[in-house]
């Protein structure tokens, strides 16, 4: 199915849990189309951008709850459970009630990668509410693709301080998004 050098999601998450950023980025990159497929299958009425907001919310939740995956368990059931919970929650908050039978989760096809920019709206609004330094760090690392060390050099902070600020910023983003749609 996948190229032979591809690693299982379990192996990638295992490496990610030990601080391997490349493995983690790759895992999230592979997970995103699966999540997007599920969101579009159920929340098509939200439109492409609305769907992408939900996809980002799910990815953020996966990130902040990743410690609840047990390393000796397969990753997919955990991933589907988190995604299903969050998609139902996010769509309900936007006024759409959906049912997703657990056994159907694995059958939904991943969304095809296209020229679609996958731009989402909510995140911009959240970044606007974040304190400016936190937003700056998120943009530098996310959009400009800087490392934490480069971001630190740019902003006159130590790398450790950038790491702490980034972690807090992501938690704040999750909190703000929660409040925004309630």
């Amino acid at each position: 199915m996948r190229p032979s050098e591809s690693l299982s999601w379990e192996a990638l998450m295992h490496a990610a849990n030990r601080g391997d950023q490349r493995a983690y980025a790759r895992l999230l990159g592979e997970i995103a189309p699966v999540v997007r497929g599920i969101v579009r299958a159920r929340g098509g009425a939200l439109g492409a951008e609305g769907c992408e907001d939900v996809v980002q919310e799910v990815l953020l939740t996966i990130h902040l709850k990743r410690q609840t995956w047990r390393e000796d368990a397969p990753l997919r059931p955990w991933l589907y459970a988190v995604t299903r919970h969050k998609v139902i929650d996010a769509l309900r908050a936007r006024g759409t009630r959906v049912e997703i039978p657990v056994e159907e989760m694995a059958e939904i096809l991943p969304a095809a990668e296209g020229v679609d920019p996958f731009e989402a709206h909510d995140m911009e609004r959240v970044l606007g509410q974040l304190d400016p330094r936190a937003a700056q760090i998120l943009r530098a690392i996310g959009i400009d693709g800087d490392s934490t060390a480069e971001t630190g050099a740019k902003l006159g902070m130590t790398e450790g301080a950038v790491r702490v600020a980034l972690h807090r910023a992501l938690k704040a983003v999750a909190r703000l998004r929660e409040r925004m749609i309630e």
């Binding site: 990610a16 849990n17 601080g19 950023q21 490349r22 983690y24 980025a25 999230l28 990159g29 995103a32 992408e52 996809v55 980002q56 990815l59 953020l60 939740t61 990130h63 902040l64 709850k65 990743r66 410690q67 609840t68 995956w69 047990r70 368990a73 059931p77 955990w78 589907y80 459970a81 988190v82 919970h85 920019p117 996958f118 731009e119 989402a120 995140m123 911009e124 970044l127 998120l138 943009r139 690392i141 996310g142 959009i143 693709g145 490392s147 934490t148 790491r163 702490v164 980034l166 972690h167 992501l170």
Partner: protein, 210 residues
Amino acid sequence: MKTDALIAALAADTTPRPSPGARMVRVLPLAVALSLTALLTGWHVRADLASALGSVAVYKTAVPLALALSALWLARGLARPEARAGREWALIGVLMAGLALALAWGLAVTPVPRIAEILDTPDYANCLISVPVLAALPLAGALWALRAGATLHPATSGAAAGLIAGGAAAAIYSLHCPHDHLMYFFPAYGVAMAGVTLAGALLGARLLRW
């Protein structure tokens, strides 16, 4: 912000997140130790503690402790969104069935006037207040730990947190309480633990959503 940018930001955040189990280990021993210290200083231990713990009366300590530990196991299982926690539920079920049998037997062999007599002591109200008071810190700790989890059943997980705290508090309070009759245990310890469990369920329904 595009999704690829978000992924880059998420991947750069390597700060580990604590698991609910790790938080339990951090906070519960401390909370229980503080409640125990409170009992030793604010209440007093029963005069015949040593002989009581060596007799059948030790059930008043052991049963709440067993409930607390099995609730801890259940809470940990429920904190995983994909887990069914079947074995954990089975253990709780066995314990509850055992307690129901004990209660039925106690009601069958103890005449109602005798039960009224057993409960006719100011210690009864004291127990119903003391156990929730001693449970407050462990309950806060257990709920805090479970907030790191991803339960699909917030109220149930909260109830498990309540049983952890209520069980621990009842076990601690048993070191003080001189009443060993089964028909004292159920109306006093049982009701107090059930109350803390209910409080946990109500709090969990709000605090454990994600």
